[in-house]
Amino acid sequence: MKKTFKIGGIHPDDSKISSNAAVEQMPVGAEVCISMAQHLGAPATPVVSVGDKVKVGQVIGEPAGFISGFVHASASGTVKAVEPRPDILGNPVPHVVITVEGDEWEEGIVLANDPVPVPELSREEIIDRIRRAGVVGLGGASFPTHVKLNPPKEKKAEVLILNGTECEPFITSDDRLMRERPTGILTGAAIIMKALGVDLCYVGIEENKPEAIASMTEAAKNCSGIVIVKLAKKYPQGGEKQLIDAITGRQVPSGALPIDVGAVVQNVATAYAVYEAVCKNKPLISNIVTISGHSLASQHNYEVRIGTPVSSILEYAGVTLGDNVKVLSGGPMMGRCVSNPGATTVKANGAFTILTESETKRGVESACIRCAKCAAACPMGLEPWLLSRLFRAGDRNDELEKERVFDCIECGCCQFTCPANIPLLDSIRLGKADVMKIIRSRAK
């Protein structure tokens, strides 16, 4: 029996049609526009002004709080503007705009692709290098990695789990990374293990990526304490709590963090970024982005400098957008719609999925037939039909809290599976927001 999480889950068509497109370097454009809000927490404070000359890898934004992060120039050139610009959803966010001139890198960054041995560093030095390189969780949440590697004193990490599940349909950037750069990922894993003081690391990979499993298993032969775990294909296996359950059998209690069951989860791409930061002194200035969709003539995996406009990536991939097309940042289950293609990429952008109207258009809502498919699909063991009904009735926050609406991970399984096309998650998300607000105000 292959390992997987125990409660709920669904099996959407995985559409990994871009898995055979090798990672290609996308050339830097004429301008990069770098967001200061690329991590969870406070946006970074810009430390350059208009007219400044910057090099690749130079710090252009400094953290504005404990949960915040460094931001670096992803191209060399002159700072053209420091101003709020709309992000992919049209909301204004502070940006640093750089007119690209040449490709000049900061001193001390190792550019060669050859593997570099891990330097002899203390735990604190490792975490500081990761912090200075602006590494954030690349699984989607963009949580600053150095914060995650600094658990509270009274909590002890026992195991590191690398997330190579990539359970979202279409996305293949982690798959390509695991196939092409397994040594870097595993070196990064070893560094994180050292920083956490653990000697066991599991890498969870879903069975629909046999090449990635093979290449990682091969590379892991030289590493002690790293185990590659083949997982059954089931969405949302990449959810932190689900992955810990699948691999260790431990379930993170409601309201608790993975560290409470002794686990720390990192994405494989994050591990690779850690390797580059610590061994090559290279900050996080580029990432691998999948451009995929059944309607596209060709599928791509590009390594893209952060701050590249989405529209130019699509143009480079030969995509022309018509009306009523959906461009998603991420995959079809949890991805967010791009409403402003002129906006630029951020660290956690792992894919842009293009769906046609017929693939994505929502059906007409009809009455709930109480089939309970949503409850069977919910990986958190909730009852989405009930939560949605309570929210729609209005003013039922007490009951919503009792039904644990705050446990919802917004994976979308319920809405995916609902035969009556009820927008369950739309309602639950708002109900969750309301209840979280009440809980937070109570804590004060």
């Binding site: 409660i7 669904i10 959407p12 068509d13 349909p169 709590k241 359950d245 379930q251 993170v252 209690p253 409601s254 608790a256 957008l321 018509g322 009306d323 009523n324 097309v325 959906k326 461009v327 079809p332 289950m333 949890m334 991805g335 967010r336 719609c337 791009v338 409403s339 769906l355 109207e357 693939e359 994505t360 258009k361 929502r362 059906g363 009809s366 009455a367 709930c368 037939i369 109480r370 089939c371 309970a372 409850a375 919910c378 990986p379 958190m380 063991g381 009852e383 039909w385 446990d407 979308g412 809405q415 995916f416 599976t417 035969p419 009556a420 096309n421 927008p423 998650l425 739309d426 998300r429």
Partner: protein, 313 residues
């Protein structure tokens, strides 16, 4: 600039729709329907056509002219009710019985509560019980065109006769007598397998019903084989399979969690056997399902799914 489509996640949807689920139920009923047509011929075809037609028409007229909303007959739920009702009637019942039953099922049991998803009782079962208590003679007249049968095996026992011992092969493949849908256990099981494969229903409720019946009758049969019929006889006789597979699993009127479904199924099995052994009626599946339908809101309230991260007590 192109106008992009925007919505919150998720952006894709499973292939299931209310319509496709109901269509699958209709397909799953096909084997049973075909067997009944082969056995009973034209009279049953008439009953089937009238039931489905009257159910769909009733729903259409009520939604269109009384509720003034868009008709939902295209979701096939009324057709499923009509088809199930036909299978629950004596195969050669007069046609107006089907009309009365359909109007009651859709008009009273389903639409007065607000239509699909809101009803407390399974419409087809409620209609069958309504007909059974209103027209007891017609509803227990199992006469068939060839006139080769009178009482059903269950009826014979209830009247104090000795259990006729038909070969169980005969019971399993097909038999004459009883409601139209009771004819062939094999056909019903084929429909069950289809529903499972298409993931329309799960095994929980049918297994709970049949398991309870088997265990309960098994124990009593061992205690006193003279008085109590055995598990195999009880499983394959009467409307148990039809009820357990197609009526007890009705989404709207069954519980939402596995725990709740086990309680629900076990309750149906137990009540059925109590009525069969000790009640005045020879058959108790319909009553059992109706009684357990009443408990569904309560079961839903107290049987919560196992939450992620909850410590097992």
């Amino acid at each position: 600039m192109s106008k992009l489509l925007i919505s919150p996640s998720p952006h894709v949807h499973s292939v299931h729709s209310t319509r496709s689920l109901m269509r699958d139920v209709l397909i799953a009923l096909c084997p049973a329907v075909i067997v009944s047509i082969l056995l009973y011929g034209l009279p049953f075809v008439l009953i089937l056509a009238v039931s489905i037609g009257a159910s769909v028409l009733t729903e259409y007229l009520i939604e269109r002219y009384i509720l003034g909303r868009e008709s939902t007959v295209s979701d096939f739920s009324a057709a499923v009710t009509g088809c199930l009702l036909a299978l629950n009637l004596p195969p050669c019942a007069p046609w107006w019985i089907a009309v009365v039953g359909s109007v009651f099922a859709i008009g009273v049991v389903k639409m007065t509560f607000g239509g699909l998803g809101q009803n407390i009782f399974n419409p087809a079962i409620a209609a069958r019980v309504f007909l059974l208590v209103s027209f007891p003679v017609i509803m227990t007249d199992w006469a068939v065109p060839d006139a080769f049968s009178g009482a059903t095996p269950l009826g014979a026992i209830a009247e104090g006769g000795a259990a006729p011992v038909p070969g169980f092969k005969e019971l399993f493949l097909y038999k004459v007598g009883g409601s139209a849908g009771e004819a062939s256990a094999l056909a019903l099981l084929a429909g069950f397998v289809y529903l499972l494969v298409r993931r329309v229903i799960t095994v929980t409720i049918p297994v709970a019903v049949l398991g309870t019946v088997a265990v309960f009758s098994g124990i009593l049969h061992i205690v006193n084989p003279e008085l109590y019929t055995g598990p195999l006889f009880n499983l394959f006789n009467g409307g148990l399979l039809l009820g357990a597979i197609f009526m007890a699993t009705d989404y709207v009127t069954s519980p939402m969690t596995v725990k709740g479904q086990i309680i629900f199924g076990a309750g149906i099995g137990l009540i059925t056997m109590l009525i069969r052994y000790f009640g005045a009626y020879p058959e108790g599946v319909s009553f059992a399902i109706l009684i357990m339908n009443c408990t569904v809101p309560l079961i839903n309230k107290y049987c919560k799914p196992r939450r992620f991260g909850e410590v097992r007590k």
